[in-house]
Every structure is written in structure tokens, then in C-alpha cells.
Amino acid sequence: MNDNSSGWLWPFILAVFCALLLELWPLPEWLAVARPEWMALVLVFWVMYQPYKVGVVSCWLVGLLVDIFKGDFLGLNAIKYAVIGYLCLTLYQRMRMFNLLQQSMMVFLMLGLTKLMSYWWQERVGSVSDVLWFLLPSLVSAVLWPSMHHMIRRLNHNWHM
């Protein structure tokens, strides 16, 4: 991918839109516990491959959008995605060298860490559950990372973006 092309923007917006749909898609409760963090995965991918275009601030703005759609306090998801963006920016050169399994583990660490952080924030401002299930989405996301990585790369390649 060429860092100077502007062809990245529309696929990025499309991916954010799809991730938003998937994040809000109604699921039965037993399945919703394991809902992958689609938006975080999309952001990790784009920061990794367009580090000069998608960074901390764009992640933060996407987070604000998610806050409004989910009806959370403004800023809760924003700060979480901003931290994901930051971690990715510091790690992307290493991540590109890794194989998919190692990348998955990095994804799990990053998402799990930010999940813990937002859990702490949520505890400050109100509601939390008292079980460790809240880390399950990070695990599921990590498992899904290789296939998703593959798919977006394939799509981008096919559309010459």
C-alpha cells in the first residue's frame, strides 16, 4: 500500500460503517457476551497500514461516534479507541513483522488492556458487572483477527486501493 495515495479514505469510512452496524447488531444475550470488538479491530488494521493517516485523533473521533450510537457517556469509548490508536502507532512497525499468530496475541493484549481501562472508567461513572466475562470479547476479537486481516487486505488488493 502506498502511504501517499488518498484511496484509503473511502474503504476506511466503509469499514467504520460496517463495524458500527456489527457493534450494534442485536444478538441474543448468550452470544452478545462474546461479541467481537469490530470497531477496535478495524482501527487496529488501519493504524497498522496507514499510520500517517489514521492516528490517535481519528480513533478518538470514531470513538465519539460510537458513544453517541451506543448512548454511553460522551468520551467513554473515545478514550478507549484513542489508547488503541496510540498503542498501535508505537507498535505498528513491529506488528508488520510479526506472523498472524503473534499479531493476534498483540491484538488480545491491546484490546484487553483498553477493556480493563474502560471497565475502570465505567466503574467510576456507574454501571459494571462483577464478573470477568467482560474480557471475552477481546479474546474472540484476537481469534478473529487473522481472518479479518486477510479479508480486508484481499478487498483492498482487489479494488487497487
Binding site: E23, W25, P26, G55, K70, L74, S127
Partner: protein, 292 residues
């Protein structure tokens, strides 16, 4: 020219700035309503989104309606008419009872209870986080919905409106772990507070004395204390009472009566705004200025 290694200090600075921004936003959003107009305006874009997400369910409903067999319809019709007769029978006595109630209240010099209006709504979306029990319904400022209005379904209390947009509002269910509702035992009027547990099938009563007369199977109705919910709506049925000698209060669990995870049609009650308690006017004789 860009260096291969992006400058670490700059992204660190950016993270710091957005973190401070987020913290301020969260605090302002939590403690004040200054951000509500902004959220409402941007929230407009979310409405088509929720309907888009609802399409599969609406299609399923339409298909279900089209494919219902005649036998099923006849059976349903029979059931509904028998239900109707029973309800009508109850209504006959209702008129007389209401009249009697009003007369008695007048005789006692009591205040007439206000018959609250209602608004039929449909659930269009539920919160994606399974630990947060919040739903989006399809009416908002366009129907003059106000924050704090209670929501019921055909069986009992569902929750209350916590956020109002132009065309949608958010309802916090009674089972959310941040929700509490003042209730009383229908049998004897014992007061308690029913708190959500984050589990759709469980409420817990807090601060119930070990000696309080609450038994399994008791119906809990809203007590009207606190002024948020009108009194007399069924909330839950006590499912277990446990006395632990090591705990200061009895552990009481209850099963919500409303079908929180099934029904799609809810009623928003147009509850009158709660009046704050009138200030007690001090007698003139007691207002002696101490400084003099």
C-alpha cells in the same frame, strides 16, 4: 521529509490531549445536561441506523404474519374473545369501583389520583452490551416525551426514560444494575427498594429487615414514594427470601413481572412531574433574630 520512525513525543502529546478532553466530556456529560442538545442533533443520524438494524426482525414479523395458518388464526381469535369477555366483566365492576373510590376519597378529604395518559411505543434497538439493560424506543421529542417518564408493558413496570432524542428515546430497564425503584408488598404494604442486578430475571430488595413480613410469592407493586413512578403498578414477584444470621438484612430476590426480553410494544406513561415536598413554613413566633 517524514522520518521512518514517527515522532513518539507528538503522538504521546496527542493522546494526552484527547485523554484530558475525554475526561472533561465524561464528567460534564455525567453531571450536567449541557451536552444534551449536541447529542440530540448528532443523534438524529442514528435513527435510520436503528431502523436499518431492525429490518431483519420486522421482515421476520411480516413473514410470520403472512404464513400463519387459518387454524392458528381461529384459535387465536377464540382465545382473544374469551379474554375480552373476562376483561369486559372486570371493567363493569371497575366503573362502579372507581366511582366508589372517588366518593370515599372525597369523603376523607384525600387527593384525587390523577389518571395518567399513555403513549404506545415500539422497541427498535437494545443495548449491544449484555451487561447494560437499555433499549431504544421509537418516540421522542416529536411526541413530547420527557426524561423520567415510566414505561410499562401489558403485565408490569418495565423501566423509565433516561434520554430523549428527536425521534427516539432510551429506556433504562428495572433490571439494570444502576436502576432502583421504590416498591411495597401488595399484601401488607411493607416498603422496600427493588434494585436491578444486571440479570434480566432478577431484582433484589435492599434494606429489608430480617423480621419484615415478606414471603415467597408476594407481589411487589410501585409504592409511588420518591415521586418517579405512579403507585400501584406491578413490578415483581418475590422468588426467594433468605435469612442469613451473619448479614444485617434479609436477602430477598424477586422475578420481574414485565416481559423485559420478549415484548416489543410498551406504553410510556405521561406521569405528571413530581412535586418537590412543600417547604414547611415556620411559625412567625419562632423566627426571632438571634443577633439582636
Amino acid at each position: 521529509m517524514k522520518s521512518i520512525f514517527s515522532s513518539g513525543s507528538s503522538i504521546y502529546l496527542r493522546l494526552l490531549v484527547v485523554t484530558v478532553f475525554s475526561a472533561i466530556l465524561i464528567l460534564v456529560d455525567k453531571t450536567t445536561d449541557w451536552l444534551d442538545p449536541v447529542k440530540r442533533a448528532i443523534g438524529l443520524t442514528t435513527v435510520p441506523f436503528y431502523h436499518l438494524l431492525d429490518i431483519p426482525y420486522e421482515t421476520a414479523e411480516v413473514v410470520d404474519e403472512m404464513l400463519t395458518s387459518r387454524a392458528d388464526l381461529v384459535e387465536q381469535n377464540k382465545k382473544l374473545s374469551s379474554e375480552n369477555i373476562i376483561l369486559k366483566k372486570n371493567m363493569q365492576r371497575m366503573a362502579a369501583l372507581t366511582a366508589e373510590n372517588i366518593r370515599l376519597r372525597e369523603a376523607l378529604g384525600g387527593i384525587e389520583r390523577i389518571n395518567v395518559g399513555h403513549l404506545l411505543t415500539e422497541v427498535v434497538s437494545i443495548d449491544p452490551d449484555p451487561f447494560v439493560h437499555r433499549t431504544v424506543v421509537d418516540v421522542g421529542l416529536n411526541h413530547k416525551v420527557q426524561e423520567g417518564w415510566p414505561v410499562v408493558d401489558a403485565k408490569g413496570l418495565v423501566g423509565q426514560v433516561v434520554e430523549v432524542g428527536y425521534y427516539h428515546s432510551r429506556v433504562l430497564l428495572i433490571t439494570d444494575s444502576t436502576h432502583a425503584v421504590p416498591v411495597e408488598v401488595n399484601r401488607n404494604g411493607t416498603r422496600a427498594i427493588a434494585v436491578g442486578t444486571g440479570n434480566l430475571n432478577e431484582l433484589k430488595l435492599i434494606y429489608v429487615a430480617d423480621t419484615a413480613d415478606v414471603i415467597e410469592g408476594d407481589l411487589l407493586v410501585t409504592s409511588g414514594l420518591g415521586g418517579k413512578f405512579p403507585s400501584g403498578y406491578p413490578v415483581a414477584r418475590v422468588s426467594s427470601v433468605y435469612h442469613d444470621p451473619g448479614l444485617p438484612y434479609a436477602v430477598v430476590k424477586a422475578l420481574p413481572i414485565a416481559e423485559l426480553d420478549r415484548s416489543r410494544q410498551w406504553l410510556i406513561l405521561k406521569a405528571p412531574k413530581a412535586q418537590p415536598f412543600e417547604k414547611v413554613v415556620e411559625p412567625v413566633t419562632s423566627s426571632v433574630n438571634v443577633n439582636e
